[in-house]
């Protein structure tokens, strides 16, 4: 059987993609922008200076002197009214009021704010040590964040999943419905073209797009945020292919009958929006009630994110990811089978 039409159609896919500025942006530019925006917003900020208000009064100068030069605390003297105002607005989370010598120090703070409690303990410790308290147990801090443990490390695999899903939906599925609406599918169906070749051409062109998308995203994340793939890069690529097939099956199913782009639009949103929320792209799906967890784990995007995160962040072997792999294979087989059965050319 001749495969020349398969190669010709795959070539069409690639040419059309690279000639369409919009598809280039949504496929390559947009995920990078999201990486930057969220990576910056949720970066680990190192040790920050907690601002502390010291209420003007007899012992104020002593308190400020005790805290001066201590890392993590920036104290300054303000009058009582100003301290109350700054506490209320959150400019400071702690105000210290020293009375006459011998009277107790007063800490003013909102106990429902965790950072206020931390500031209270820290300032208390510093003042006690300054006054001569001696700690009896020696301690030492190790503050390095574990490799692969930052938010951005966790985010990037999810963005890869989202990107591949969007590619399959808005790239391929929407494109097919458009071709049906424009009667291009009908025109093709009137030729002796092997119909499977038209559908397969999307998979063949994926052999170029998927590695390119994966490489661009991870190379960018590494250069800007130092995100490192702890496990095998080949395993990530393999998962990217498997994920793209599962999403493509789903996309083809959406595209199999829809007559116009409005219907396709609705169907695609119906499929992608729940996964964007439940599958742990931007925040962990563990936050949902445990009763939902079995269903969430069966979603293809959840399975993909789970497997890729284990490989990228924990350095796990792809072969330890039996459950998510099985979920992805199942989605690929079932959706592709149904889509081909239901597909309409006219």
């Amino acid at each position: 059987m001749s495969t020349k039409s398969l190669w010709a159609l795959s070539g069409v896919r690639l040419k059309l993609f690279f000639r369409e500025p919009g598809s280039m942006f949504w496929t390559f530019g947009f995920p990078l922008l999201v990486t930057v925006a969220l990576g910056v917003a949720f970066r680990n900020q190192g040790q920050s200076q907690t601002p502390v208000a010291v209420v003007d009064g007899p012992g104020a100068a002593q308190v400020v002197a005790a805290l001066a030069g201590q890392r993590g605390v920036a104290a300054r003297v303000v009058d009582g009214a100003e301290a109350t105002r700054e506490l209320r607005t959150g400019e400071v989370v702690l105000a210290v009021q020293a009375g006459a010598p011998g009277a107790p120090l007063v800490f003013k703070y909102d106990p429902s704010r965790p950072e206020a409690q931390a500031a209270r303990r820290q300032v208390d410790d510093l003042l006690q040590i300054h006054a001569g308290r001696h700690d009896t147990v020696p301690t030492r801090d190790e503050t390095a964040v574990a490799q692969g443990g930052r938010y951005v490390d966790w985010l990037v695999p999810g963005l890869l999943g989202l990107q591949l899903l969007n590619g399959a939906m808005w790239g391929a599925a929407f494109n097919i419905v458009n071709a049906r609406q424009r009667k291009l599918l009908k025109r093709l169906a009137a030729t002796p073209m092997r119909r499977a070749h038209y559908l397969l051409s999307y998979r063949v062109s994926g052999l170029v797009f998927v590695p390119l998308q994966t490489f661009v995203l991870f190379a960018f994340a590494r250069l800007t945020f130092g995100v490192v793939i702890q496990g095998s890069a080949l395993a990530v690529l393999g998962l990217a292919f498997l994920g793209s097939w599962a999403f493509a099956g789903l996309g083809l199913l959406c595209a199999s009958r829809a007559q116009n782009s409005e219907t396709a639009n609705g169907l695609i949103n119906l499929v992608t929006l729940p996964m964007m929320v439940f599958s742990g792209v931007f925040f962990s799906s563990a936050r949902f009630p445990s009763i939902l967890q079995p269903a969430i784990r069966l979603l293809p995007l959840t399975a993909f994110n789970e497997a890729v995160r284990h490989v990228v962040n924990d350095g796990a072997s792809i072969f330890s990811q039996g459950f998510p792999l099985a979920v992805l294979v199942a989605w690929t087989v079932v959706t592709s089978f149904l889509a081909v059965r239901l597909f309409r050319w006219t």
């Binding site: 069409v12 059309l16 291009l184 093709l188 009137a190």
Partner: protein
């Protein structure tokens, strides 16, 4: 076997609506056959059934002696198609589009160069399809229909929406195909197109064939190759002129305010002097008198009482 296409008792229903309602047609090899009718007459449905893109509700359909239910793959390789208003890949060039379509055919295909030359698209070979004019796009659509060197070419309303110059250019290309002996099936709602291009024409209305023949035969059937339209003062009824020598048929046309008569005539040199004499006899002044060749439009109007152009 002489027939390229054989249709017997073709019916296509959509719910209660019969788009095609018992159609019989035969298209001979090597002829250009026109299916003529107003919008909604069932032309496109009929052609799509012939192209294997739609299934008949009942009736017999044979293309090149084969049936779509058993020999679809074989048929697709032997026919060429230009759908009504084909939208192609926007950002593919003319030449790339032709090569992609050529890749679908396993047998012999016409060289891309030949097609570009034949359809006058050589200068546009590197142009994206989205940047072509309407006429160029239609010529590309015809070229795509010819890629597989088909035995039958189907053209569905090939010149609809084109400017007069593009229409004429496309007519020349279709006429050239016909003179090379290619079987062409053409649907149109333009009379001049059918008259100019087709060897034989079937006029369809409401999914039925209402007339069949060469353009000349069909025009002859309305009782004369010429038409005289006459307005008189005072106005005369059709009976007043129906028995004039050389007049085969007279009927009233025009509005209430300006009633006119249409006369079917074989030989104007016989009928016109007699007509003038009759007018003098009835003391009626001809305020307007037009003599013209009858067209297929007149055929349709005579047979259905409606104009083809009533869209």
């Amino acid at each position: 076997m002489d027939e390229a296409i054989l249709i017997e008792g073709l019916v296509k229903r959509y719910g209660d609506l019969a788009a095609v309602d018992g159609l019989d047609l035969e298209v001979r090899r090597g002829e250009c056959f026109g299916i003529l009718g107003p919008n909604g007459a069932g032309k496109t449905t009929t052609v799509e059934i012939l192209e294997g893109l739609n299934e008949p509700t009942s009736g017999k359909v044979e293309v090149l002696g084969r049936s779509w239910t058993r020999q679809a793959d074989e048929l697709r390789a032997r026919i060429g198609v230009a759908l009504q208003e084909t939208k192609l890949f926007d950002r593919l060039t003319v030449e790339e589009t032709l090569r992609v379509f050529a890749s679908f055919y396993s047998g012999r295909t016409l060289p891309v160069e030949t097609l570009l030359a034949e359809m006058q698209l050589e200068e546009k070979r590197g142009t994206w399809v989205m940047k072509l004019s309407g006429g160029q796009r239609q010529r590309l659509a015809v070229a795509l229909g010819l890629v597989g060197d088909p035995e039958v070419l189907f053209l569905d309303e090939p010149t609809t929406g084109l400017d007069p110059q593009s229409r004429r250019a496309l007519w020349d290309t279709i006429a050239a195909l016909r003179s090379r002996g290619k079987t062409v099936v053409l649907t149109t709602h333009y009379m001049d197109e059918a008259e100019r291009l087709c060897d034989r024409i079937a006029i369809v209305d409401h999914g039925k064939r209402i007339a069949l023949g060469t353009p000349a035969e069909l025009i002859d059937r309305i009782g004369g190759a010429h038409l005289v339209e006459i307005t008189t003062d005072p106005a005369l009824p059709p009976e007043a002129l129906a028995d004039v020598r050389g007049v085969r048929h007279a009927r009233a046309i025009g509005q209430e305010q300006q009633p006119s008569l249409a006369l079917s005539i074989d030989e104007p040199h016989v009928a016109l002097p007699a007509l003038i004499a009759r007018l003098a006899e009835r003391r009626a002044q001809p305020t307007r008198l037009v003599s013209r060749t009858a067209t297929l439009d007149d055929v349709f109007l005579t047979m259905t009482g409606r104009s083809l152009r009533e869209d």
